[in-house]
């Protein structure tokens, strides 16, 4: 029974390995099509991309796109994945039956460095020489046949973006038996010591063959080690250091010597390389003056698009949720369940999902920037500035995106290789004033500066000041964390500037889809739960009679607001504002609607006709002075600049740091900062006589 067999015998697994920017993912997309699934490797936030494809005979194969790496001697968590998968050291991923080594033909030596390490492990392999067109443009003539003869494994020239060579690859993948690579030997002087190191690392296993030695080499040269293997690796390294000083250098040198011998006959430089389109483009895009102008222009255009184009579908989503709530109200009998659906689930989820169009647009633009190769240039231009506070140039786009929404910003930090710099970027991203803060800013500035006073420019200056305050906070905390967080891995930045390419729309859309799915599933579940909890807190216990305001003031949230009044009084807030702070815990802009419910009810004017700002301005304290005086408004604004009032961001931080520790820390430090800053502003302004 073939069907029963198919379920019991696991499918053969083919893994794709290669340097970053070799077109590995393009090839993976071409092979697996829509069958691909993206998840995380257990315990780390590295994407695990898997799919299936059919070989020439219609047999189903599993195909695994391993993260890009320059060497099996891993330096980052991303690079440890291909090493551990190929060595069969990962519990969640079976050791692949075959590998396809994707090699950038225009940059053969360095790419062969990894390919040789993989071939040395003794896994049946196919070498794909990708980007043959670029190699040709650079005046190189590469003989795949010569390479194949010398390596002993199939070598297939290809252009994955135009699918040239795909047929030959499928034929090679369909071979029942793949020949193993012809192995070179380690220099005799190293071999003996390596055998001893292997014995030490594998608790007494003697007489390792060359394949096993290659595995040991990749482990003991790794800077990224798991806790379990670290003591053994340290002992093995000490042994190597004792027996052959300078062993690491010799290993790399012998590897490059083998590569030199391989390529000597396979590459022919027919003519000197002309300046490539990339060289010409970089002359403009990285120009000392033009570079800045273009970067600034592009970012302005990007934000203008996000804020103008995204508002249209955002209104649709908002209207859609409102319409659905109305529809439920007409069809369901009045009661708790109806309220739960309309005021809890729909209102809560809607207030966050409303930002989905904006988030999708950002994902799309970030994907375009990554795919064209411009992202690396932005990092190159900005590295110096970001370096001042201990960040990497690659942190620039994620942090800039956070001014629209921190969620795509935090998800884009995966391009930062150094785990410490990545964590710092995630932690400070919510300090960028995102668009959910705008409604709060607009309302409070409106209360602070009524229509005539100071004019429009004063309001603009205030708004800019708030953005500047958040930015200063962001850099300050990045610098503080940089000083405090120590890490073992070095901070050397080696940033590759890959050739520019026309983005593959399909690849960009596929990534957009997978990121959107993460947002909806990860943030969505948390938002749903918190929305229901918040709804319950603002609805129960139910008053016997009364309107919305009575309901809110007598609810758990209302009582909580009164209870925290002593705590927030030094900031200049009354208990109603306390309720607003609690209600906007899940999403900042909820503050505005809560304020509206709380203060509008006492309004002597006709209901819903006068602007909320006017009503707020008329509120009085017990002593008759205005409630929303200058110092209270300032204190509230400063609070919202710093406070971490966004559950969705916390959910994404949890996913991206793979622990509850960091989102809790993020929430804690931002809330404390917000409180202290608001306290300072209120009390300080008081001393100054406002």
């Amino acid at each position: 029974m073939p069907d029963a067999q198919a379920t019991t015998i696991p499918l053969p697994v083919i893994a794709l390995v290669g340097n970053p920017n070799t077109g590995k993912t393009t090839l993976f997309n071409a092979l697996s099509g829509l069958s691909q699934k993206v998840a995380n490797y257990a315990g780390v936030t590295v994407e695990k991309k898997e799919g299936t494809c059919h070989d020439q005979h219609g047999k189903l194969l599993r195909i695994l796109d391993l993260p890009g790496a320059y060497s099996l001697s891993a330096r980052t968590p991303d690079e440890a994945i291909p090493r551990d998968v190929l060595l069969g050291r990962r519990a969640d991923t079976a050791k692949p039956d075959r590998v396809i080594c994707v090699v950038d033909a225009s940059n053969l030596e360095r790419n062969l460095y990894l390919a040789m390490q993989v071939l040395d492990l003794g896994i049946p392999a196919i070498v794909v020489l990708n980007m043959m067109d670029i190699a040709e443009a650079r005046g190189m003539k590469i003989s795949a046949a010569t390479l194949q003869q010398q390596l002993g494994v199939p070598v297939i020239p290809m252009q994955a973006n135009t699918r040239q060579g795909m047929e030959r690859l499928r034929v090679a993948m369909s071979q029942a038996e793949l020949p193993l690579a012809k192995l070179g030997e380690y220099p005799q002087s190293l071999r003996e010591a390596l055998a001893k190191a292997h014995e030490l690392l594998n608790t007494g296993e003697t007489n390792p063959d060359s394949n096993a030695l290659a595995g040991t080499v990749s482990l003991i040269c790794s800077r990224e080690r798991d806790a379990a293997a670290a003591p053994g690796i340290e002992a093995a390294r000490e042994l190597m250091e004792r027996e052959c000083p300078g062993w690491e250098e010799n290993l790399v040198a012998s590897q490059y010597k083998r590569i030199g011998e391989l390529t000597r006959n396979a590459i022919e430089q027919t003519r000197s390389s002309d300046p490539t389109p990339t060289d010409k483009l970089d002359g403009v895009l990285l120009h000392p003056i033009l570079g800045w102008l273009i970067l600034g222009g592009l970012m302005t255009a990007l934000f203008a698009t996000i804020f103008s184009v995204a508002t249209v579908p955002m209104d649709w989503v908002d209207a859609g949720f409102g319409w659905t709530a109305d529809w439920i109200k007409t069809w369901m009998a009045e009661g708790d369940l109806r309220d739960l659906l309309t005021d809890g689930v729909l209102a809560g989820v809607g207030s966050v999902v409303m930002f989905l169009p904006q988030i999708l647009l950002l994902f799309f633009f970030i994907g375009l920037l990554e795919d064209t190769g411009y992202m690396a240039r932005v990092a190159f231009i900005m590295d110096r500035l970001m370096g001042l506070v201990g960040l990497n140039g690659r942190a620039f786009i994620p942090l800039l995106s956070s001014y629209a929404c921190a969620i795509p910003g935090i998800m884009a930090t995966r391009t930062i290789a150094n785990p410490r710099e990545r964590l710092i970027t995630i932690l400070v991203a919510p300090l960028a004033s995102c668009s959910a803060r705008l409604p709060v800013y607009v309302m409070m500035i409106g209360v602070l500066l009524p229509g005539g006073s100071g004019g429009v420019w004063m309001k603009v200056a205030f708004m800019l000041g708030l953005y500047a305050l958040g930015t200063v906070g962001m850099f300050l905390f990045a610098w503080l964390f940089h000083r405090r967080l120590r890490s073992g891995t070095g901070s050397t930045m080696i940033l590759e500037l890959p050739p520019y390419k026309v983005p593959a729309l399909r690849a960009v859309l596929l990534r957009l889809w997978s990121r959107a799915r993460v947002f909806i599933t990860q943030a969505g579940t948390v938002i749903l739960v918190i929305s229901i909890l918040l709804w319950a807190a603002t609805s129960y216990p139910k008053p016997d009679a009364g309107d919305d305001t009575d309901r809110l003031t007598q609810s758990i949230a209302g009582q909580l607001g009164k209870q925290i009044e002593p705590l927030i009084e030094p900031l200049g807030y009354d208990w109603k504002m306390g309720i607003g702070l609690i209600a906007s815990f899940a999403a900042r802009e909820v503050f505005v609607s809560t304020m509206s419910i709380l203060y509008r009810a006492d309004d002597p004017g006709e209901e819903g006709t006068r602007p909320l700002q006017t009503i707020l301005r008329e509120q009085k304290r017990a002593d008759g002075s205005p409630l929303f005086n200058t110092k209270t408004c300032l204190s509230m604004l400063v609070f919202y600049v710093f406070a971490m009032q966004c559950m969705a961001t916390l959910a994404i931080t949890r996913r991206e740091t793979n622990s509850w520790k960091w989102p809790l820390f993020q929430f804690g430090y931002l809330t404390v900062t917000a409180y202290l800053a608001a306290l300072l502003v209120y009390q300080g302004a008081g001393l100054l006589g406002y």
Partner: protein, 72 residues
């Protein structure tokens, strides 16, 4: 070294833990490289080695001793 000039790697400073990765990336004694440009703010620098363009910070590039070669 000024932008556009070529050189040959002489030696790499050993103490730094990351010098191993620089070697793996092709910064081997005898390898030819070219300083393509400096970033608009002076740091990092763009180096072409073995057909790849890599950006390195000054602090890291200082580990690599280069012998400047006259243009061919």
């Amino acid at each position: 070294m000024c932008a556009g000039s070529s050189g040959m790697v002489d030696s790499i400073h050993l103490e730094c833990d990351d010098s191993f990765r620089l070697r793996e990336m092709g910064f081997m004694p005898g390898a030819r490289l070219r300083l393509v440009r400096r970033a608009p703010l002076g740091d990092p620098i763009e180096v072409e080695i073995g057909g790849t363009h890599l950006a390195l910070r000054h602090a890291d590039a200082a580990l690599i001793q280069v012998r400047i070669m006259p243009d061919a």
